[in-house]
Symmetry: C2
Subunit: 446 residues, 2 copies
């Protein structure tokens, strides 16, 4: 009798959209009416354990179908793969996908095609962690430094971070990791909240939500800015008077400004003691961020949710352009590239404060910060994970926030899995929610 | 009787692929087997003139369907538009498309979604030039400086290039433009050829094609390098001995190297007097290119075919990272963004040497260089357009090369239109070429 190894048998995709624009949840200076969406993927296998790998790319509505098409284009690289080999070395898959010489032309390593790679690579990590019966943060923290180094693609970053550097950082990160893991399990990882600060909210709602955030144990909140300076001054004054002087208030322009405007606008808000200015200009403008940072002291500069890959993060660090590096779980090429980015940040000693919110970004990114705390940077000092209280109910193992801290996930995997009912209801355009919605709102002919 | 204005009535897309991988045409260190492809778009109107706007994004095969899906996602922004208004102000369309707040999340302004914008914006310019009965280069060169400035999006570049700067450059560019136009019509625009230098070609074929290039009047050829140093040394020696010392030989690594490797490898080839090293490393690595450039003198540095947008070009210029800026006609957001990039290059005094080849890139980009010569930079000194002798037969008005020079197109439009028979034969997967091909090559079961 021959033993038959398990294979990936299917790559199933879903176009999932939520009607968030109706409440102005998520509204900012560049995203007035997002419909938070996920290009969702499930890797199925013929293994007897019945486990699946789940992953997704977050988008804001229109174009989620393009993102799904990009994930579909990767399916031939997945189907038929040996599951044991995949889970033993997800980095091999990541390199194979980013290296496909024809698909590479569509990036390379940026935009729709790269987020598609991130979605399937993250799904592979979800599967690997489930098979190991561990939450992803622990699966990573328990791995050997040597194996973690093998999971990083050093192409285009080796001038700044060599495999030897990475091994030294990860080996040092093991010192005291048991104690940190216990501390994490007891206390959690610090969070800040953006829920009060969406641009579309009234001053009354801002005040109410800001006070509630403080009552809930958060020590940092965030306000969206950049549409109108007078409004921003009023909202910043409102927020500061709601929370008092001891709470950090970050501000976020979502790329609204040119460089000179970013400097002026930030200075105009500085009397209210903003903690950081986030995305002051184009995420591609490394030198622009460096100029902003040099001119807005003591306000700090943060960016990353739209930074396309490790090569741009490398340069933001080389140029001294940022005080806080904001990784995103679904923008880059998955866990492997985020390992590279966490290592770059550790090498430069720049704190990582992840972007989250959207659909499921909190669920995913907490694992990366928790791994970083336990087994790499070894600290939560000046580090906070963004928290937005939206759409968690659609996940099988939603984040748990207690006293302003993310609680360490206990369930095996990457917390990426949505409820089957959500996939049925919010599939676009023919899920039950959307068909019922259209029945209520007859189309007008134009 | 009311006059009814013409509207865009349809956005028709085609997935066109050519089996170029079979001959190793186009093979380089990162693209061993490209199948040159086009995600092709036709804007149809209900105007009585029956004119259409044609455009496309060039890809290398797999993923061309994703690129088509991205163009399809833009159709709702096009259908119903007033044709006169569109042709009077294509910049308004370009800004609208790059600014769509939901689609923007998929970039912003990079990768698949941005190339889709470029394809439809270029199609709009094709239509506008056809309606003006002018080839695009002349349509641009005849426009007023003020109108050209109105076509540029200064967002994220205004710290370096203001509308006032642009107006000054374009106004200065009118001096002597009549004489330059006549000279262009008489002589053409200088070209160099990559046809001899593909990585997959034998030394015998390299020698034969290099000699033919010189006989055909070219004064510069290009060799692909980066896969194996010993091979590159042999091929570079072969090429140099084939063409003699008076012909420029550029080398092109297609992003194969890390920064330190790029420096070492280029130095190892320097005894054969390479003119420029192209794409030595990641197109995203601005600081890396600056380091390479500082270390490989007198070899010059060129890049651009994979540079995603004007923001990255701005920084390459700010950082002194390049000697030659290589625009591409279908990588960025169309003619409007290429106008911004030509203006940035003019501001910094860096020569523009366009990337071409692929499918129809020669046909398109010649218009941009010819406009630049007649009405902006005013010179062809140290400027050459890449030429590759592939696939031109599929175009209604193919490029015409004479004595190493592109001849100025006379036909109205952007030279983007393919023959109807090509669209029928090479539609993937069900065009007549591909169905016949599959009939000849029965699939093997795996």
């Amino acid at each position: 009798m021959t033993s038959v190894s398990a294979r990936i048998t299917a790559v199933e995709t879903h176009d999932i959209r939520f009607p968030t624009s109706r409440e102005l949840d998520g509204s900012d200076a560049m995203n007035p009416d997002p419909d938070y969406s996920a290009a969702y993927v499930v890797l199925r296998t013929n293994a007897e354990d019945g486990l699946e790998g789940h992953g997704f790319a977050f988008t804001t509505g229109r174009g989620n179908d393009v993102q799904v098409a990009a994930i579909d284009a990767l399916a031939p690289h997945l189907v038929g793969r040996d599951v044991d080999a995949l889970c033993a070395d997800p980095g091999s898959l990541a390199r194979h996908l980013t290296g496909d010489s024809q698909l590479r032309w569509l990036g390379p390593e940026k935009g729709v095609m790269h987020m598609a790679v991130g979605a399937v690579v993250n799904a592979a990590w979800d599967l690997a962690a489930k098979r190991a019966h561990k939450p992803l943060w622990r699966f990573l923290a328990d791995a050997t430094p040597e194996w973690l180094v093998s999971q990083v693609d050093f192409r285009y970053i080796a001038d700044v971070l060599t495999p030897g550097d990475a091994l030294r950082l990860l080996t040092a990160g093991r010192n005291g990791s048991d104690a940190r893991r216990e501390r994490l399990l007891a206390r959690g990882y610090p969070a800040y909240t953006t829920s009060p600060g969406w641009l579309g909210y009234s001053d009354e709602k801002l005040t109410r939500l800001a006070r509630r955030a403080v009552a809930d144990g958060f020590t940092q909140i965030k306000l969206k800015v950049g549409a109108d300076l007078e409004d921003d001054i009023r909202r910043m004054r409102t927020a500061r008077s709601a929370v008092g002087p001891g709470i950090r208030i970050a501000i976020d322009a979502n790329q609204r400004w040119n460089v000179p405007e970013a400097i002026e606008w930030t200075k105009a808000l500085s009397e209210f003691d903003p903690y950081w200015i986030e995305e002051p200009t184009s995420p591609d403008d490394i030198l622009g961020h460096a100029t902003v940072r040099a001119n807005v002291t003591p306000v700090k500069v943060a960016t990353g949710e739209h930074v396309q890959n490790r090569v741009v993060f490398k340069q933001l660090l080389q140029a001294g352009a940022i005080d806080f590096l904001q990784i995103d779980a679904t923008r880059v090429g998955g866990v492997n590239e985020n390992l590279a980015i966490l290592l770059l940040a550790a090498k430069f000693g720049v704190p990582v404060c992840p972007h989250a919110g959207g659909v499921g970004l909190c669920e995913l990114v907490q694992h990366l910060s928790m791994f970083d705390y336990v087994a790499l940077s070894g600290t939560t000092e000046n580090r906070v994970i963004e928290f937005v209280d939206h759409l968690h109910e659609h996940f099988v193992t939603p984040v748990l926030i207690r006293d302003g801290h993310y609680q360490a996930p206990a369930a095996a995997g990457f917390s990426a899995e949505m409820h089957p009912g959500t996939l049925t209801a919010y599939a676009y355009p023919n899920g039950t929610f959307w068909t019922a919605d259209r029945a209520l709102t007859p189309e007008t002919s134009s």
